[in-house]
Assembly symmetry: C2
Homo-oligomer: 455 residues x 2
Amino acid sequence: MIHSASDDTAIDVAIIGAGFAGLNAARELEKRGLRVQVLEARDRVGGRSRPGQLNGVTIDTGGQWVGVGHERLTRLAQEAGAALVPQYGKGRKVLQVDGKARTYTGLIPPVSPRALIEMQLALVALRHLQKKVDAARPWESALAPLDNETLASWQKRWLRSRGARAIFDIGVRAVFCARPGQLSMLHFLSYLAANHSFDYLISAEGGAQAATVQGGMHQLTTHLARQLRTPVLLEAPVMRLEQSDTGVVVTHGKGTLRATRVIVAMAPSMARKIAGDPVHTARDKLGERMPMGSVIKCLVAYATPFWREQGLSGEFVSDTAPFSPVFDHSPADGSCGILVGFFDGPEALRWSGDPDGRRRAVIESLVAAFGPAAATPVDYIDHDWIADPWSEGCYVGLPAPGALTELGRALRAPHGRVHWAGTETATAWTGYIEGALASGEAAAQEVALALQAER
Amino acid sequence: MIHSASDDTAIDVAIIGAGFAGLNAARELEKRGLRVQVLEARDRVGGRSRPGQLNGVTIDTGGQWVGVGHERLTRLAQEAGAALVPQYGKGRKVLQVDGKARTYTGLIPPVSPRALIEMQLALVALRHLQKKVDAARPWESALAPLDNETLASWQKRWLRSRGARAIFDIGVRAVFCARPGQLSMLHFLSYLAANHSFDYLISAEGGAQAATVQGGMHQLTTHLARQLRTPVLLEAPVMRLEQSDTGVVVTHGKGTLRATRVIVAMAPSMARKIAGDPVHTARDKLGERMPMGSVIKCLVAYATPFWREQGLSGEFVSDTAPFSPVFDHSPADGSCGILVGFFDGPEALRWSGDPDGRRRAVIESLVAAFGPAAATPVDYIDHDWIADPWSEGCYVGLPAPGALTELGRALRAPHGRVHWAGTETATAWTGYIEGALASGEAAAQEVALALQAER
């Protein structure tokens, strides 16, 4: 379009990052007839989703769930010909609080009546509070001063029994891969507002963990990447951006290209690694104050899903075992049993860099939950997202207390010719693949309009 | 020592960063007969201290004060032949709260009796609390759970009057270049424990701003640098560290060197920019959760220190003017009048990248404080520490809520052959030049012992 005939490397839009956000932005821009190049640091597309092989089954070592209401993601799965499988949840769940493991069915965990009442009151209060926060601009809400408090401070006032605190902590850690003491109360409410409710976020049936993609989430990013006219350039980390009045020079691991506009589709803290023009801006400072969550994802295969025979669903949550939560992720053909689970928050930090130790900790946790049969797996795989050089943590960047009110306005605001995508920038379904897809659409629209205005 | 004869670039210790910490570590190691090379990214030594020229006077655009009890720094000034000048403080101070400017003398600001009582009770409570926190290992204290709360949450309970909150906020912002909502209460108490008390930190006479160095702080780092047998290598940013069983390969802007051990004497968040072995460790994750404070330092020269004639000390603090606090920094020879002040926290973020706007805001704030004579300066200089590519903020890295308890143990723990210095790692006088000097000494001692043990 605007590239000069003399420079055949000039394109309309360079997109940095081939996760769901970047790939969807590329697709949307190509639909509009624009010349696009996606640059990816890794040797694969998919970003924070990532396939793996376990006992001959292709599984997800990264993002895996499709939530109720994740419409873009559901459509994309259909388009890619990938089946969605409801998360298995038949049978009793295992809850371990203060070292005691108990099983239960339904939605009500076996804790004291007082803990249950406190939890219910807290959830009602949160639903009331989240309504006052616009997830697209929480810093403008009447509750913006809550950015100066942590979720832990709020929780301390509302939950006084050990049981209620333990259950709430487990839920927060599972959703954010961080403890309540690390989270801004405003950010927490904004996240709830963007994702229906806290109940939704921690639920399988009817919630954010409703279904998985048979054969793996990577089928969807591969499908997106294959559709592009210009193939994704892999192993091409972007080192530098330099802006001029007419375009941006992008220096990457495999050379240099000129683009009229750029979309950075990376987590805000990772975007800080790019030198040149976008640094030392408000967006850069925001990235400095949005550290990534901490998580290691582990999958364990057994000859059979033996827990099902015991009447257990495979769901296990604990405030004492290091490896929690755990879910059943056995293949639909019943060829073997697979449990998937997480070290999150401080437990992930503790076990990062110790692959042997954490494998032992996984098995010990599973034996505590499901009995001695869990001691003899047939295969094991994990992925330490903290040590992943192109993610440095998962699932998302978490604005530290004070960051959103001081710098939140920079989250989506273009910096000259540089625009932003990635699930952190989504105004709905923030933190999920659905949000990543939506953020790619929004950035594509913004860039297309800007290019039109320049003509 | 341990370097092989075949490789003449091999040394005992490479030190990254030529601020007070790195230079002092180098001096201590050379005293022990070790071969040291200091590598510095900037074109000067001094780190977060930095000289400037204003109306023919050499002033400090970075760290400037010597506090009572800063013994290493005081000794170093003597050694360098630099005189210490008490901070000027004769006359009435100006306090602006809610837009009203009032003058006062002594230690008691003109706020309501209720505000004064609340402030006093809060200060007593803080002195009581800080005693329970060991600044060398706050995460082990009985008060460690306060890492899950912000200082703002604590302050809200203790200070209920507007006046008390305003005064407290001003003090916190002046000390940390951040608002109370950003600070972990545990980190705040640890900082007080490391630096005597909150009163000390916000005071000139008898406190952290007791004196300045006539002719500028840079004389002291220049003195340290000149003493070194091997000159500091400037404009040599370190890009990569690779460790083996016998040493570390240091890749920097001017080449490569081999050292048996390395001291990284940088702020923890800046240390994250070095690729290779130290990344994706607990120290790296801690750095991710220690964003720098935000500050722009500005100095304004007038023909005379006209405020003195009005019976004013030049001290001005405000909760409404963007430019506060302000102090008299006129040269001892009375050749002109100089005011020095700061945009800190959100005000610094707001004015970063707008040099003309902030200069106007400085003058407007000074006119509001000292009258129309402040409208006609003869010279002006500032330094935006947020935009400084080798600092990315000042004065120090601030552990976000939750960071110290999860990762604080990694602050000083060596990572193989890589050791840590810098004022953030100091166990006393943390955040001050005195702490930087002490941290350099401690790192040198640690490295010398490690080298001895290897022989």
